[in-house]
Structure formats: C-alpha cells, structure tokens
C-alpha cells in the first residue's frame, strides 16, 4: 500500500478536488453531443440569432416595401390618388425606397382578398375628392389585418398614400384661404432621446444577450452535471468513488468545478459567438458605409462594452455558472438514472428561460436591491444593465453576491445529499 497522506480532517484537498473534476471533465470532453452543445451551438446559433434572424426579418419586411403588390379597386379613383398609389418612391440615385402597387379592377373586394387574388382592395364609399374643397369621402380598405405580410405590404402603402393625399388636399385648401400648412399642427412635439449613447445603440440586443448567455450556461452545465451525478449512480461508478479515501465535500466540489467549467466554456463560446457576430457586422458596415444606420436598426442595435463592462459580464457569468451547476448537481444526485434526472431538470430550464424572456419588459420592473440580490435574476439584470451601458457597480456586486450565496446553499444541500444513504443508494 502506498504511503498515506495525512490531511487535516474535514478540509478540502485541492489535489483530490482536481482529480474528481479532471475525471468528469475528461468524460465530458469525449462526448461529442456535449461538445456540440457547449462549443458548436453557441458559435453557430448566436450569429444566427443576432445577425441572421433580424436580417431575415428586416429583409422580409423591407422587401415588402420594394415589391409591387396587387391592390384590388372597385369603381374609379381620383387621378391624383391613382397616380400616388401606382408611382414608385425613389431616391435621387433611382433606388426604389417604396414601390407603388398594381391596381386590379375587382367586383367583390372581400372575396378577392380572401381568395388571394389581391393582397388588399379599396372601394370608395362614394365620389372621392379630387381637388381641395371637393368635400369628403370614405374609402373602404380590405385586407387580412391579422396577416403581418398584408399589413406591412399593400395595406400599409394605401394608408401612407392616402395620408399623403389628404395632407396634399388640406394644404392646398389652406393655401386658398391664405393659411400655411403649419395651421394643421399648431404645437409640434420634438422628442429628445435622453438615453446614453450605448443605450441608444443596444436596442433589442440588450435583451438577447442575457437570455442567450443563460441558455448556454445551462446547456453547458447540464450534460456534465447529470453525467457526474445520476449517470455515475446508474453506471455504478459513484460507489467505487465514495469508497476511495476522498471526502464527500471533495467529491461535491470536484463535480461542481467540472460542471462550472463546462458551463463557463459554453458561456465563453457564447461570448465568442457575439464577437463573431460583431466582426461580421463590422465587415458588412465597412463594405456598405452608406447603410450603417439602416443595418444597425435591422440588427436591433449594436453592442459596445467597456473593460469594466467585460469584467462585470465575466463575474456575473462565472457566478451564474456556479449557481446553475450547484443546482443541477443537487437535483442530479437525487435521481436514480440519467433519464430520471432529465425529467427533474426540465423545470430548471423554465426557471432560466422565463425570467430571461421577461427581460424584454425590464423597463417596467421596479429594480430594487432585493431583485439584484436574487440569485440568477439579479445576474440577468446585471448583464442587461452592462449591455445597455447603465450598469452600477453596487448592482453588479449584489448580483454576484446573490449568485454566490445561492451556490453556497445548493452546494451545502448537495453535500448533505451525498452523505445520505437513502439518496446515494436510492434505487
């Protein structure tokens, strides 16, 4: 028998902790599915979500403006209105910013819209004014209002054109009375954005970043945590580990270290995914300097982080990884099998997703100190603040402390479970 070590009773021996962690990490590293979830998914999905999806949506919606839709017409329209509807709006260089519509005579506008012959249809309720002072008229506009494509296409164009036509007639009428166009709008509101430059730029990205980071931390932690707990029980390897001269606290800490490492690796690759998105965005902007504003708007904003912001993100991400890892280990050790553990962790997924989705409405939240100190939630808020550029060190510190307190609590509970016969030998 080799020479025995003489450790202090009850203390954590880093070497032992690392041995437990290394064993679990090696097992994780050899699992292709886990590697995909930890490394490949963030690298692929984040650029896809942050670049591809907004661009796709922007192109789809913007494409509606450039496309010519079929607009059904019942009866006749004043020539000025007909011309305004069918004429393209262009930039001086000839670029079409909004295409006109093709007018198609129809007899039953409702049927024509419903069967898709036309995207929208108009039907004057009587003679429409052709000149200033001709009186008023009604124009029925038929479209499938629940259909976003229809609303952003022909329906929207008719509304814009009729607004312009009304303004044109009203201005002409006022002119005959010796009044200017300003008469219609005696008081004008001039909005002034009080947001910081970063808040103005961040836009929708601010909400996406904490959500995606939390998701990838969870995804990275999940496989390792369940394999290191329920998986070990199921394979019969946990008993052999517990019969070695290693303390339960070292087993729990080692497994926590391994799980948090994979969770953080996943989070790190999610940050790399964001950086990749930023590089692609910058490359596109360099190639298209005239479209920077349009592109930024289509992207839902752009992200700029200071060094302090990066450190805050890292601190919150690291403690969130520890928190989620300790919770998963606590739940995983209670399960009899990997499959059973997967059932138990399903609500944890919701626990991460639902608050993250709610961050869209973070502006309505009363963000008290208690909320920042709430494990997980406080971290999400701190990431959101950092991305928006409105982070306060005290809030970030509270979020980190909350996560660490949660980690300590879950770890102690996990340690207690590892010491309970009915949990370890539950079958």
């Amino acid at each position: 028998m080799p020479a025995e070590r003489a450790p202090r009773r009850g203390g954590l021996r880093p070497g032992m902790v690392w041995q437990i962690a290394a064993r679990d990490l090696l097992t994780t590293l050899r699992d292709r599915r886990t590697l995909s979830a930890t490394i490949l998914m963030p690298l692929i999905l984040i650029p896809l979500f942050t670049l591809g999806l907004p661009l796709l949506m922007g192109n789809l919606i913007g494409g509606q403006q450039q496309a010519r839709q079929q607009l059904g017409v019942v009866g006749t329209l004043p020539e000025g209105l007909r011309r305004a509807l069918t004429t393209d709006e262009t930039l001086p260089d000839g670029t079409v910013t909004r295409a006109g519509v093709d007018l198609v005579p129809v007899t039953d506008p409702l049927k024509a819209v419903r069967d898709g012959t036309v995207e929208a249809a108009i039907q004057p309720g009587g003679p429409l004014p052709a000149r200033a002072g001709d009186g008023t008229g009604t124009l029925k506009l038929y479209a499938k209002l629940s259909n976003l494509r229809a609303r952003s296409g022909a329906f929207g164009k008719v509304q814009d054109v009729v607004d312009g036509y009304n303004r044109q007639l009203a201005t002409a009428r006022l002119s005959t009375l010796g009044l200017g166009a300003d008469t219609l709008e005696p008081v004008r509101i001039q909005p002034v954005d009080a947001s910081s430059a970063q808040e103005q730029r961040s836009g929708q990205l601010a909400f996406l970043i904490p959500m995606l980071m939390m998701q990838f931390i969870l995804a990275g932690a999940l496989a390792t945590a369940l394999d290191a707990t329920a998986g070990e029980k199921e394979r019969g390897t946990l008993e052999s580990l517990l019969v070695a001269p290693v303390r339960r606290a070292e087993v729990v800490t080692g497994k926590l270290l391994a799980t948090a490492t994979t969770a953080l690796t996943s989070a790190a690759f999610s940050v790399i995914g964001f950086l990749l998105s930023g590089l692609i965005m910058r490359a596109y902007q360099s190639a298209n300097p005239g479209n920077v504003a349009t592109f930024t708007q289509a992207m839902g904003g752009q992200l700029t982080l200071s060094a302090v912001g990066v450190l805050t993100l890292l601190g919150v991400a690291a403690t969130t990884a520890l928190l989620i890892s300790s919770l998963l280990i606590l739940v995983g050790i209670y399960a009899r099998s990997f499959k059973e553990a997967q059932t138990y962790v399903a609500p944890i997924n919701l626990l991460v997703v639902l608050p993250a989705v709610t961050l869209q409405f973070a502006d309505f939240l009363n963000t008290s100190a208690a909320l920042y100190a709430t494990p997980l939630i406080g971290g999400m808020l701190a990431i959101l603040d950092t991305v928006k550029g409105s982070s306060e060190p005290a809030h970030a510190a509270l979020a980190i402390a909350g996560n660490l307190a949660g980690t300590a609590l879950f770890s102690l509970l996990a340690l207690r479970s590892f010491g309970r016969e009915e949990v370890i030998f539950r079958n």
Partner: protein, 249 residues
Amino acid sequence: MLDIQNVTKSYRAYQALRGVTLHAHSGEVFGLLGPNGAGKTTLLRILATLLEPTSGTAVVGGHDIHHDPEGVRRAVGVVNGGMGLPARLTGREVLRSFATLYGMTRAQADARIADLDDRLELGRTLDVRAGEYSTGMKQKVVIARAVIHDPPVLILDEAASGLDIFARRTLLDFVHATRAPGRLTVYSTHVMSEVEEVCDRVAILHEGNLLNVGTIPDVLARTGASSLERAFFALVRPDAVRPEASHAR
C-alpha cells in the same frame, strides 16, 4: 484484521442487521454466505464506510469505522456486482485516476497496473474505452481498480455475478492468490460452490442474523449436513429440510 462488534442497521421499521459480531483474521479468505436480503451487502457497505451502522462498530484493517473512516477506505478495496466503469475512459485511465486518489505517483501506478495486467490478464482491455467492454472485461478492470492501491483488506460482494466461466475462473484464481499473511479477503456470495472453493471460514447470514461462523468442516459438523448447501438450508430453514437419510433413500 476485521473485528465487527454487535452491528445493527435499521431502515425505519425494517431491521437489516441484528447485532452481528464476528472476527476475521489475517491470511484468510472469509466467506459471507446468505440469500438475497440477508444483510450481506449492508454489512459490507458498513465495513467500507459507505453506510453508518445504527449501533455497534467495526475495526477494519486496524481502523475504526467511526473514528477513522478515511483510514478504513485506504485499507480496503471493494468490488460488488453492480459496480461499473465510466464508459468514455479506458481501463488504464480509470486505474491511473484511482491510483492518484490513493496518493500513488504515475510511476507507482504504472508499475502496479503492469502487475495487475499479468495477474488479471487485462491485456488490450487496458487501452480500450470501458463502453466497449464485455461483462467479464469490465469486472476484471473493476477488480483491478479496487486493488490498485494494494489494500490489506479486499471486500468482494457478489463479484462473480454475471461473469462467464473464464472471467469467473480468473476471479477465483485471483482470490486464491491474494491469500497471504497480512491480508484478508471477505468474499460475499450466495453461490455455495464459490465459498467451498475459496473460503477458509464462512459466516452464514440470514434476515440480518448471524447464524453460524466457522470453517466449512465445522459448519458441516454442527449441522450434520453433507454439503454446504444442505448445511445452509438446515440453518436458515430447519423445518423445511428433509433429513439426510430420507434424502439418501
């Protein structure tokens, strides 16, 4: 080497062990015989410090299970039929990993692995991932893992369960080979032939009670049975055993 004093274990109303006291000595292979549910695994888990006894104590390899559980764990190697291996690690990686937990250097671990390779005929198994092992290959590596630190006390709990004839033979030969001064093997099984082949003394456990302890000839003499199996039945279900004479007729 093994001193068990009045050990009881209860799970709520169920009493798994009822005041077991026994002693096993250096240089012997000690059999623990009993049907499923007799309390064998519970007793062995208590000896390995995986379970706490409800009352009583034990000293294993010179270490008290209450006062020096880590010392006990360094002194024992445990194999049971349900133990497995991490599917994505090779046998060598598993053995090196456990050697480190016992404080062995890489050189010590590799030398010991080479020794166990000879004794357990591990061969190419060592460098294949455990997920690809047959039951026999797996159990050989599980045994190697249990004895990687060369423990003075080896606890085998239904270790031959599910093994084919070749792997079972390797295991029994290994148990024979471990019989030496300063060493004790506790061999728990419900298979009488294994006990008859490898054990010097045997304890018969039934429903948490220790019914008999002694050499196999002693047990046979005390029960008047002609085989260990009949002696076992005479002890655990005396009313259900027909007399030897009527059986012979």
